[in-house]
Subunit: 147 residues, 2 copies
């Protein structure tokens, strides 16, 4: 199952308190959905440095919550996520939303747009994981001594 939600914190609040709210939100979901994997977007410092620092800190909280419970964490870059759902690492935000809607057979694109991004990340993780497992299985067959 792919679970999706968005934690929002008031922009005017201090960063430490916002991080605490994010932790509380993630803990609730982990209690509720009991995922066996958590996928987190790998953050790079690119355009907007100020935004990226906040994203890095929020992603640290997500990684921490999962790891504390022994849930494996996988990191995927934004390009990997876009490529997985749309075929292009440079897809536009709207295109990602449209593909997520089609893949998951939803009636309308998920809102807010962050929810579509989170679902794209989950889809990316499932597909990449499956591909990696298939390659590993094929390799193990090749390497096995023939009967």
């Amino acid at each position: 199952m792919v679970a999706c939600g968005v934690v929002r914190t008031p922009a005017e609040e201090d960063v430490p308190l916002r991080l605490l709210r994010i932790e509380q939100g993630i803990e609730e979901w982990l209690d509720l959905h009991r995922p066996d994997k958590v996928a987190v977007e790998r953050v790079f410092a690119q355009h907007n440095v100020r935004t990226v620092m906040g994203t890095a800190q929020a992603s640290a909280v997500a990684m921490l919550c999962a790891t504390r419970r022994g849930i494996p964490v996988a990191l995927h870059t934004p390009s990997e996520v876009k490529a997985a759902v749309s075929g292009s690492g440079r897809a536009e935000k709207a295109q990602v939303g449209a593909m997520v809607t089609r893949i998951l057979r939803l009636d309308a694109p998920p809102k807010p747009a962050d929810a579509a991004d989170a679902l794209a990340l989950a889809i990316c993780h499932i597909w990449r994981g499956t591909a990696t497992n298939r390659i590993a299985a094929a390799l193990s067959r090749v390497r096995e001594p023939r009967p």
Copy 2:
């Protein structure tokens, strides 16, 4: 009391696990020293973007641990810290170490250098806090109705 320690995590380990180790280290200190305030360096994306992302994530863990216990968190910029101990916001690392040694009347500069930085941050926080409190006290005296 100013408490100081350094958590080190193996560079070859995955980030989620390293963040968990940092959390465990900080939790131990909070249990041991029961601080009434936690000072954290405010991170900016400057020179080495890769280093800064890791620093942002580690500082998120420190903020989270303190806030979870209701301990107030104060953020100070590297320039504020350098200026507080040395008088110059552009002081060299060695100068900060030397001033920390003098201020705290230590026999030798704290090692590793990160420990000196942490102590400088604590000194900065105490001094800035005192100054802020004095200004607040002075203002409240000015604003009080005269008898």
